[in-house]
Structures are given as C-alpha cells and as structure tokens.
Symmetry: C2
Subunit: 502 residues, 2 copies
C-alpha cells in the first residue's frame, strides 16, 4: 500500500464511521424530541447496537497500521491531513490503551451510580451516593493511568473534553479569577435589588416566543434550511450531518428569558457547527476543537451579543410588539437590567454569567483534589460547602443544593466542568479580538447586523476545524494566551454601568 | 455447536440486524417529517452506510451454515422457531442467489430511471421513459431467473411482496372481479350526481382536523404512548421499534376527508404493527405476513369501519361540533354519501374503494404480460388505454394520466401492485369473519366501541405474526380460500343502499 493509499484508507474508514456515529445523533435527537414514551427501552438497544459498531470500527487494528505508516511517511501533508493524522492517533491511542474490561466495568458502575445519584439527590443524602462516587473516582484514575501514567491524572481526564490543556494551566487562570470575581459579585449584589419580577408581567404563549426566537436565530445567521429548532425538556444542540444542525430549547410562559437566551445559547453552538468546513465532515479537520471552544461560541452570542444594551436597542421594539401586553410595563433599560440580574444562587444551571464561573472553580478544585487523592470522597460535602461560602457567600442548605446537584460525576464525567468556565474566558477573548478587528461592532449590533461578527468567527474559528488545539487557537486568533483579563474587563465594564441602578 | 446454540446464533444475529434496520426506519421517518431541506444529501449517505451493513449481515455465510444445521436438526421446534427458520431461509436464499453485480446494476438503473420517470410524467412523454422500463423489465426478469428459473417469472417477483402467492391465483380472483366490478361502477355512476361539493363547506384548520384525528385514532385503539401522528407530504406508517409506530398524514383544509381517512388508513397499518407479538420483535414470528395482509388492515378500518353508516352515527355529532360552521349545511346521511362517492377517475391514488381494484387489475395484467414477454414495453400505453376503457369507461387523455402516473416501475417494483387489491379482498373476508364471530359488530361501531373488533384482529391476525403465509392465514381465519365473494357482497350491499340517492 502506498502512503497515499494508506491515508485514503484512514479517511474512508473514519468517514464511514462518522456516518454511523451521526445515525446515533439522529436516534438521540429523536429520543429527546418526538419519540413516544414507551419506545425508550428499544431505543437503548438501537443506540447500543450502533455504539458497539462504532467502537469496533474505532479500535480496528488496521487503523493502527495505517496510522503508523502515515506518520512515518515522508512527503508533504496538507494542514487538514496533518490535523487528521494527529487527532486520529490521539483518539485511537486513548481507545486501545484502555482494556475492554475497564470500559465495561465503568459502564456498569456508572449506569447504577446514575440511578443512585437520582435517589440521593431526591433525598439530599450524600452518604448513599458516596460509595458510588468512590468507585467512579477509582475507575477514572485507573482509566487515566492506562492512557498516561506519567502525567497528573486529572490532565488525562481533562484531555477527554479539552484536548491538550493541562490542569495547572486551568488552575492558574482560575486563581486569577477567584478573588476578583468573588469581590465583583459582592459589589453587585450589595447594591442590587432582589430579583423581584420576571421579565414579562403576564404569560407569553410558547408559540409566540418560538416565532420570535426562530426569526432571531435567522437574523443571527443560523441557516434554517440546514437546521431546525424544536422543543425539549433539557435543551441541547446536536449535529446530524454536514447540513443538519438541530437546536432545541424549552419555553417558560412566565419568564421569556428562559427560552430566549436558551435558544441564543444553543444557536451559538449551532452557528459553530454550521460554520465547520463541510468538505472535512467526519474528520478532525472538520470538527470542533473542544468543549471549551464550543461553549465559547454559545456564550459569546448569548452574553456578549444578546445580553448587551445595543442588541436590545434593535430588538426591544420588536419583542415588545410580539409579546403584546406582557412587556407593556417595562422599558428598554429595565429590560436589559432584568436579563442581566446577578445574584449568588445554589444551583449552577440557574446561575448568571458572573457567578457561573465561580460555580465551576468550586467543582474544578474538588475534582482535582479527588483525583490526586488530596480530598476523600466522604469529605466532599464539607469541602463543597466551605468553598461555596468563600466564593459566593451563602450557606449551602443541603447536599441537593450543593454537591449532589449535578449529574456529571454519576455518569463518570470528571474533567468536564472546567470547559464551561473556559467557554466564558475564550468568549471574552474572542469577542475582544473581533471588536478590535471590526471596529464598530456595537453599532452593527445596534443595527441588528451580525454579518461582520459571524464572518469573523467563521474565518478565525469555525472554518479551521481542529487545526489548532484550544490553547494554540486562542493564541493564534487573539495574540495572547488563555487569560482572565478580557472576561474580567468585560464584566467590570458591564456591571459597573448596570449594577448601581439594579 | 449444538442445535440449540445454532438456533440461538441465528436469533441473535437477526435481532441485531433488526436493530440496524430499525435505525434505517428512524432515518426515513425523520427525513419525511422534520429533516431540514439541505440535509438530504448526507442523509442518503447515512442510509447507504446502514444499508450496506444490513446487506453484509443478511448475506453473512454463517447464516447459511446455521440455517443448514437448524433445518437438519431433529427435535421439536416451537411454532415461532419453525416460522423463523422457514422465513430466514427464504430471505437468505433470495439474497445470496442474486449476484452482487445484478444488485448494483439494478440500483444504478432504477436511480436514473426514477429521474427519467419524473421528467417523462411531467411532459407526459412515455417514449422518453420507455428505454428505462425496458431495462428494468429485463433486470427484474434476470433477478427472477436467479432465484427460481422453473416458475413463472412473475411469481418470483410477486413473492417479494406477497410470499407464496402465485400469479395464477391472483389472476383467477381478478377474473372473478373484472366484469362484476365494472358493471357495479357503471350502475353506481349512472345514477350518481357528479361529485359537486367537498364534505366541508368552508376550510377547517389543520390543527382542528389533527386534534379530532388523534382522538379518533385513540378511540380505535391506537396506543399514543407507543406511537405518534405527524404531518408529511406523502403519508405512510412506519415502525421504529416494538413500541414505536409512527403514523403520518397530510391535511387538506378544503376537504377534511383527505386527512381523516388518511389517518384512519395509516392507523389501520399501525394497529397491526402495535399488535404484532413484541417478544418476537426482529424475527419473522413477530413480523407482518405480507403487504397484502398489511393493506387488509388499513382497508378494513378505513372502509369497512370508518366509511360505514354506524360509524358516523356515533362520530358525526362530534366532528360537526369540532368543525364549527364548516359542516353546518350537511346532515349525517349526506355526509356518509359524500365520503362514499364513487366515480371512475384516471389517477389510482385518488380512486374510491370500488374503482380502486379495477386500477390494480389493469396494472397486474400489464405487468404480467411484460414479464412473460407477451407485451412489448412500447405497447404499454395502448394496452393501458384500451384496458382502462374496458374496465372503467373514460378515455385516458394522456400518459401522465395513464401509464406514467405511478412511481413503482421506475423504482423496480414489479409485482407490488396486486397487494393493494388483495388488501381489499382480504379485508372483506376478515371483516365478514369478525362480524360473524362478534355478532353485533354494527351496534358496537354505532356505540363507538371497537374493542371487540380490535381484539378479534389481534387474536386472529396480529398476534400470529408470520406463522402463516397469506393464503393459509385467510383459510385459517375465515374458513375459505382467497375469494372475491366477500368484497363483492360488501360493495353490492353498501352501494345498493347508497347509490340510488347519490
């Protein structure tokens, strides 16, 4: 086999696997949107059949042979080819280094742990979940050791979600944020009125909200010929194919902010997916860099764009018209303040853009200490509650509102949380760079024109797929390393002007 | 390998294949309902990836080995096991006897022929489709010869859709129908007023129609926890899993009969699917007998039940209420007459329950003559037009309203059409038997109570899966062979009473 044939085999194999993987996405999307209730049991069997097929293909020994020859080959590779070989190698090694027995044991334990977590959270009883978490931490450490016994184990886990990033780098930037963020939250909330009324004074029908949100998504640049927006219980964005990006959301008739910013957040993910290079579909060169970079796109549109004053200078008259009497009592300024309300709360998924990052710092510190052995599982609630008080103020009333609130650990996802906060940081850095390049970004936003911003994101981030790992991408695009500066500046500028009248 | 292990391998293999095949159904359903327009290209690749996988599994040489040992095994087999081995053998032989080159050539030709047919129908130009149809007839004959060179070739093609049934048996029953049906149509239309007004005098919103149809489906016994009803361009019913039956329909605001009977027809299919034994899912013992038997279930509910006077004695007040003023001008009797309007028309899919069978007889006679060589492809239009005049009266104005109207031949489906008419015949025979067993079926229908009828169908037809081939099933359930008698009696009784005032 020539070197070219070898690469062609790798490409064909992975593209075919991507077709099967994308069928899993169809099954998942359908399950969350339209699947009849009683179909759940068999749907799990369908998913499992495809997962087994994909795993067999991903660990096919021929992939190892093709990779070895491709890596050893002399001769010029295009950037896309080099990216693909690098990432196929990473993925292959991470799969074949882990024994099947450990994979199966982890699947078995997390399946039961997830049910245990549901019960534990319901009864706010950490002790019933603690033995499961112990097993999961142990299994994840075993897993990390299989892949790389020389690194900090948490690095290996983090790498599953943010390839190439190290725990020490995350810790460094989180340490920069810890105190200034906590102070900022304290300052905002000391002058803020309690969050009294919802944005809308009376209910707004879901259909009305939906119609506005779909128009808005189109205005932001989301292509509805290559995507859709549907209603679900737990919103997400998923890609079923190169021209098939499905955004989902939920609606709260009593609080239009829920659906509105939910849609914009997911559309931010969707714009990234729609902007990935279609010709590289099914390969790393056509894939998103990491969860953190993905989250940066959702956060950028949700917060930097759609929670800004200029944005609502354009859209407020329209949403007011659409919502009938429900927004009669509120003006543009009050509306912008209402959608930017900041206050410490116990539940991460309900947190605002300022306190959210503190929630993540807390989880990262606990996870890293669990994996290093510095923290025992039984001590998680005490550590959680103490750090929460330090960072956010209030006393956690119970574990359901504390260390039992998130599903992630019960599913074996350790190292995932940091990507949420990284998304906030990347978003701020990218937005700064875009504003700098574009010049009059606020004016364009105030005119309801997002073409320059989207074109900038397309060119610098979307179109390059996985060419760079996240750290390199940030450096390449913004000229600086991952940093807390843009995010802190953004928050200070915004809440300096908003908070006093809040 | 013991005989038991051998059977277990067959079972496990086919169930796993069924899981992949059901993923194809998910892709298909999504494509027809919600898929964004631009996703079509990649969806074809996903479908093709799964189709290749399913084909590889279906033709796996181990299946042949396992089948041979299972067939040779002594020892008692359950009825389900015997059914499965019989049908797995039939399916396997039909696949492995046909060379891959012929499969690929047929796929290539039909793909282009389908586009040629679309163009030909648009321009009503049979000569541009004729060379494609010639190739298709040739390829289908080659296919039939591969499978069984000793039979009438049309029998082999028919067997793809109606396993076990012979062309001669179809011809015999169609010959019984030809003259009486044509006479009946003449008699009805000679006294019938032209179909002037639609059922509803003013438009009825699709949502209103949908709400009524969903309630109606539930009333008939369709389980909406294990199924759904969605809107599409070309209605169908598909099964995505043992508790996941998806009915689709379309709505015409100017003619509520379109959506109403469309839903009931597809729900008839859906009730069959929901009634198949779930424990045998993914095997012949848990599968429908044939297209004809499937069609009998849709026709039974659509025509025998839902176009009957007793049915509307119960539902007319409700539909009148739901439709607001749109049904103000029509009474129950006039409504029942309107939904039973009979008149010759050129287009099969718009035909009523009487003329429909004549459309099928026409197609069967032409197909059979094409395959035997008695009719040349170039002579199809003339043969079509002459037989149409004999059977239905009017002169076909052009090929778009004649021999170019159906998609089937362009897709390589020859032998499919008879199953539509067989559905009408089976439906009448089953309904007679059910009415005989139940006693007061009309009274129950007039009370909106379908539990006895559904239970009867469940027990005698749905629950037995493919235990019997269609001819045996009809004999077992009704005590008589496939026959035209029940169908003719039904039509004469119904239109004897309805027609004179029509």
């Amino acid at each position: 086999m020539t070197d070219d044939e070898c690469y062609a085999s790798l490409l064909q194999h992975h593209r075919q696997t991507a077709a099967f993987r994308s069928c899993q996405s169809v099954l998942h999307w359908d399950r969350e949107t339209y699947m009849p209730r009683a179909a759940a049991g068999y749907r799990a069997e369908q998913v499992s059949a495809l997962a087994g097929l994909v795993h067999t293909r991903d660990t096919d020994e021929r992939v190892g042979v093709w990779l070895a020859q491709s890596e050893a080959a002399a001769g010029g590779r295009s950037s896309a080819e080099a990216t693909n070989i690098r990432e196929w190698r990473r993925a292959y090694d991470r799969l074949v280094k882990v024994p099947q027995s450990l994979v199966e044991e982890t699947a078995r334990v997390t399946s039961m742990a997830n049910q245990a977590w549901i019960d534990a959270r319901e009864h706010s009883d950490f002790t019933s979940f603690s033995p499961w978490l112990q097993q999961i931490v142990q299994l994840k450490c075993d897993y990390a050791r299989c892949i790389d016994d020389g690194s900090e184990l948490y690095d290996v886990l983090l790498d599953d979600y943010e390839p190439g990033l190290k725990a020490a780098a995350v810790a460094a930037v989180f340490d920069e944020l810890r105190t200034p963020l906590a102070e900022l939250v304290g300052r905002i909330t000391s002058v803020a009125a309690p969050h009294g009324d919802a944005v809308n004074a009376s209910p707004v029908a879901a259909d009305t909200q939906r119609a506005f949100a779909v128009d808005l998504a189109g205005k932001l640049g989301f292509d509805l010929q290559s995507g859709r927006i549907d209603t679900v219980v737990h919103p997400f964005c998923t890609t079923l194919g190169p021209n098939d990006v499905r955004v989902t959301t939920r609606w709260d008739e009593n609080d239009i902010a829920v659906g509105l910013f939910g849609v914009i957040h997911e559309v931010g993910h969707g714009l990234y997916e729609q902007g990935l290079p279609a010709k590289h579909w099914g390969t790393p060169a056509g894939s998103a860099v990491s969860l953190g970079i993905h989250e940066s796109q959702s956060r950028l549109w949700e917060n930097h764009v759609a929670r800004s004053q200029p944005f609502w200078r354009y859209f407020f008259p329209e949403i007011k018209k659409r919502c009938g009497t429900a927004l009669d009592q509120i003006g543009e300024d009050a509306f912008v303040k209402a959608i930017n309300h900041v206050a410490p709360s116990f539940i991460r998924v309900e947190a605002d853009e300022v306190t959210y990052t503190l929630h993540i710092i807390l989880r990262f510190e606990i996870e890293r200490a669990l994996v290093s052995g510095a923290l025992a599982v039984d001590d998680v609630p005490a550590a959680w509650n103490e750090t929460f008080r330090d960072l956010l103020g209030p006393t956690v009333p119970n574990d359901a509102h504390g260390c039992l609130q998130d599903v992630h650990w019960s599913l074996g996802c350790i190292g995932y949380f940091p990507t949420y906060a990284l998304g906030n940081l990347y978003a701020a850095q990218f937005y700064d760079a875009a504003a700098n390049d574009i010049g009059n970004l606020d004016e364009q936003t105030a005119a309801g024109d997002f073409t320059a911003l989207l074109a900038w994101l397309r060119k610098h981030i979307h179109a390059v797929g996985m060419t760079h790992r996240s750290a390199d991408l940030v450096r390449t695009v913004t000229g600086t390393d991952l940093s807390a500066r843009s995010y802190l500046n953004y928050l200070r500028a915004k809440y300096g002007s908003i908070a006093p009248n809040h």
